[in-house]
């Protein structure tokens, strides 16, 4: 029996999509394989998240509830995860490779004496689990395993594990012991202010199912409205190339590529993006790529499933209008 503990991350009292994917994936795997799957929830108010975990097919849930988890503090959360992992002694501790997952995974590994493999996109189960992760920005892949001595911490890239249909279960909750941090709450790390950067309307880039992305070929910041309008119809997030970011048309957090975000949406629509290797690095694991570019020799067409040679500024408004029309008809 392989014992798996999944840290179920939440934002605003809701289970994150990236965690939902991991929970669903393992609950389905556990129907056929000797896996014990337990979810770990840490938060100020966990009822909604517990229900959602049940809907992902995971029954056993360890909960640590407390006001100290209201706002994110990496040391406090890491302590709680360490406590949960020490109690449960899993063979694998799995987290989503989100900002929070990345921030706490090595801290937890450091405290527990465990190793870590990050940004995994696939896994295989034989006697043990092995993990696949892209290296050199997706230009190669490595299959990685633990050393067989110690448990392993794994972070999984959002959108990477294939969608499955888990069967909902009634959750069985056990209360975890909250670690005592009295007098040691800050650990030299004091959170002063949190500034929201994204409005609730669009999903975060790394978790978006569809991304509409613009490059230098969009000609100016004012034309990003065309991308936003298309994104709104599709429920997509808007990304950008480095050229567009460096020109100041878009904030850096929206940059896709080797020195930006790595994304794996179902659909990536690249508009006025040439397809430089560093850009492809960030989006080559997208399932389907559509490219609109004036230049028939643009490298982006080499990886596009559907390419349009043409002017993005002219095509985008027509596409948005057609999609709107289509949605009205099918509603």
């Amino acid at each position: 029996m392989i014992n798996i503990m999944i840290y179920a991350e939440q934002t605003n009292y809701k289970l994150r999509k990236a965690s939902r994917e991991i929970l669903g994936y393992f609950s389905v795997l556990a129907q056929e394989q000797p896996l014990q799957v337990t979810a770990l929830v840490v938060g100020a108010e966990c009822n909604e998240v517990i229900k959602e975990i049940g809907r992902c097919g995971v029954r056993d849930i360890l909960v640590m509830e407390g006001q100290e988890y209201q706002t994110y503090h990496p040391n406090i959360l890491a302590q709680a995860v360490v406590q949960g992992a020490s109690d449960l002694r899993p063979d694998y501790l799995v987290l989503a490779n989100t900002a929070v997952g990345k921030d706490i995974a090595p801290r937890v590994g450091g405290k527990l004496g465990w190793g870590c493999v990050s940004d995994v996109i696939d896994l295989e189960l034989t006697d043990n689990l092995t993990f696949v992760k892209p290296i050199y920005a997706g230009k190669a892949l490595a299959q990685i395993a633990g050393n067989g001595q110690k448990p392993l911490i794994v972070t999984v890239r959002p959108n990477a594990l294939k969608a499955v249909d888990p069967s909902p279960v009634e959750p069985v909750v056990s209360k975890g012991v909250t670690p005592d941090l009295t007098g040691n709450e800050h650990l030299g790390y004091i959170l002063k202010e949190v500034v929201a950067k994204v409005t609730g309307k669009t999903p975060p880039l790394t978790e978006a199912d569809i991304i509409v992305s613009g490059g230098r070929g969009m000609k100016g910041p004012e034309n990003f409205v065309l991308l936003e309008e298309l994104a709104e119809v599709l429920g997509a997030a808007v990304g950008a190339s480095r050229a567009a970011v460096d020109a100041g048309w878009r904030e850096h957090q929206y940059q896709v590529g080797q020195t930006g975000k790595t994304v794996s949406p179902s659909l990536y629509i690249a508009c006025g993006i040439s397809g430089a290797i560093q850009h492809l690095a960030g989006m080559s694991s997208a399932r389907t790529v559509v490219a609109i570019n004036k230049d028939p020799n643009a490298p982006i067409f080499k990886i596009a499933d559907f390419g349009i040679v043409g002017d993005a500024l002219k095509i985008l408004p027509i596409l948005t209008a057609e999609l709107k029309k289509h949605l009205k008809q099918t509603q």
Binding site: Y72, A99, G109, I210, H252, Q258, T259, V309, H326
Partner: protein, 254 residues
Amino acid sequence: MKILVLVKQTFDTEARITLDEKGQICDKDVNRITNPYDEFALEEAVRIKEKNGAEVVAITLGTEEGEKVLRNALAMGADRAIHITSNLDGLADSRKIAHYLSQVIKGEEADFDLILAGWVAVDNNAALVPGFISEFLQVPLANVVTKLQLQDEMVECEREGDGVSEIISLKLPALVTVQKGINEPRYPTMKNIMAAKKKPIKIINIKELQETEPYTLVKKFYLPVSKGAGKIVVDEGGNSVGELMAFFTEKRFI
């Protein structure tokens, strides 16, 4: 004030990746560079030095070719450098790398005030080494920082979360990993490149250090299968949109 900067040698982002007959990554003709994020860390350290005065020490763990990234660090303004020589490459187990770096830091460099690092290395895309080091050294860590300011015994950081930015204050000594946007790294001048040749690099062979096991093992490498070219349509007056709509329908996006 003493600032340590962790710099890693990585493959050039333009590098083509191939496998040799043993299935290992072929590194013969690959140009190597300083991990781009580590240049932001270096630049930030040198700016602090220029403003407040500080000693800046660059540290790398890697093969002999790693001297190149240390010379670059010295040319950008670091005062001296430490090279932990080893045949461990850029894909080696992160916890193991952190173990050796921490050991050296805990030794002669234990009086540091600040450690700066890149938030991620572009070869293994791990973002793990700094987190492990912060635990091994028991210092506070702020990750993915886009703004940094020293204040008395503290360093104030603006960091990127998912959809939020956070203002954080760390008590020194501390570790900060930096993100693009924090500064524009300088190009070393010819004069500084020459001067860098005379600056000291201390070499520590990894064998002199206390050993540790790797916690992860690479079973094999492989190259992604290319999907093959898709459909290309030349647009004339918007006629491509109909075909794209058909494609969306076929793929069930709409």
